[in-house]
Symmetry: none
Subunit: 159 residues, 4 copies
Amino acid sequence: MSAIAKEAGTGMGTIYKYYPNKEILINNIYIKIKKEEKSVFNDFNSQESIKLQFENYFSSIIEFFIQNPTYFQFMEQLHASPIITEESKNEGNNSIIPISELLVIAKKQQIIKNIEIDELLMFIGGAVLSYLRWYFNQSKTKQIPLNNQIKLVWDAIEK
Amino acid sequence: MSAIAKEAGTGMGTIYKYYPNKEILINNIYIKIKKEEKSVFNDFNSQESIKLQFENYFSSIIEFFIQNPTYFQFMEQLHASPIITEESKNEGNNSIIPISELLVIAKKQQIIKNIEIDELLMFIGGAVLSYLRWYFNQSKTKQIPLNNQIKLVWDAIEK
Amino acid sequence: MSAIAKEAGTGMGTIYKYYPNKEILINNIYIKIKKEEKSVFNDFNSQESIKLQFENYFSSIIEFFIQNPTYFQFMEQLHASPIITEESKNEGNNSIIPISELLVIAKKQQIIKNIEIDELLMFIGGAVLSYLRWYFNQSKTKQIPLNNQIKLVWDAIEK
Amino acid sequence: MSAIAKEAGTGMGTIYKYYPNKEILINNIYIKIKKEEKSVFNDFNSQESIKLQFENYFSSIIEFFIQNPTYFQFMEQLHASPIITEESKNEGNNSIIPISELLVIAKKQQIIKNIEIDELLMFIGGAVLSYLRWYFNQSKTKQIPLNNQIKLVWDAIEK
DNA sequence: CATGAATGAGAATTCATTCAT
DNA sequence: TATGAATGAATTCTCATTCAT
């Protein structure tokens, strides 16, 4: 907590004014990131084809974390920590609503495989996560093309 | 540490006899799990088709963690922790050698897409991880068929 | 450390804020005592005869430890302890500079024996130490006159 | 204790067979050294002059600790430790009986100053101690002549 | 009888939280 | 109101002692 206060340029007392204890602080950060993550989808144009919308989503969510590397580090370290409450996790799950809705439509239109939405979602989530882990381990010189990842995921879920 | 000793049914001093400090203990557990993970591939029959071998690997590695849920919990909580040293991570990376070699062959035989091995590996790793996260969040009644996951991954990497 | 905190009327955390660990705390006390010991000589009047100055020094340094019995106990217990670093010992040796300088003058004036300064110093140090050990072992009723000690030392070093 | 057992080439259990606990072990070592120290005086020839006997004693006791540097280290570290019992200290004080008796004679014969034996003893003890501290801090190349020390002490106590 | 692995009370150290300024 | 020094419960680690082999 004292390290956080120092980094934030405030006293510890100030943090405790807004967040009664460390658990609440961490959980609020968690939820904040999840909300921002969800908002990535707001700008999307639903006039475009399903495939394009999906690809846009996929690259946007990755771009989001590339632009906010500390968010990614935070999630990597804490998503499985006992400090994150069940309640926070539930609220955090809202972040996948947009892509979930897109998948529902795609499935109805028989564009993608007839697999449970949840199962597809977790699969896509895994692709996002692994790409980002890779990205942040890379020396910045060798950039991995996102195209390949997008093709892999789309070939996977496409009917 | 005292909780670990209690759970292990030993005194704390005994743990410190074998592992000089907590960091070393945790890193040894990390490496042990990674080694076991690698050994999953030992039994494999290289006479089978590439696809079958791949599917076997994929389901085996998932089976491994389902049989050892504590291993999975440990990795989820600690893989991104600063307590895991760079050295341990490097040693841990040996666990993907078997599947890596399989992919090299598959690529040569033009069975799978012409994408860098590392990129394919991280993609597959993401699929494994996301399935397991899902599995352990499930109430045990609703079992998700692994078949779907295998099909998704294979369709993704197949040429 | 907890006993020290209790005695000091603070929490243990407070000690650790100023002294990162026990070793540093102990070494700081060591150096502090040595510095105070040195400052005993500050008040001295260099107009007086060499002999008088010497006698003043001798009785002052003994008076200093009699007034601060805990200082003496600390030194007795810790001067040979491995917790006192070589660096601290070197810094502590500054405390003998004043008397050392006095002896240099005394030797030039052929007042004292033509023996190496260091050898004289150690001899004097031994006399101080042994008197103090004696003093603190005494029941307070039987006070040993310091005069005798001073005569002994002076007769020893005098030409 | 385990370090002691290792150094001694035995198991810890063996030590505990002979010395029920660490305190007793340390105190026994203390007393053993003190006894050896006393025996240094056994060989002495009472036919010699008092002065010669004194000088022999002085150099013998120093020689004793130079030959047994670990004894000196032990005493330096532990003489003021709370682990040494009052009883051990009392028993240890026997080691000064021989020199004490010599001083009684010397005083009767008016060879040395008319100062209390105990005071003379502590003075001499201080000289021994300071010489040894000096000796063991020296780089072995520069040997300090013991003659000077002996002259210093004798001039001090001589009438 | 000798051993040294096992023990756990006690010591050192940390860090979330409080509260006087 | 904002601060960060002070706090001490909780944690890590040590080491004298025991006891099964």
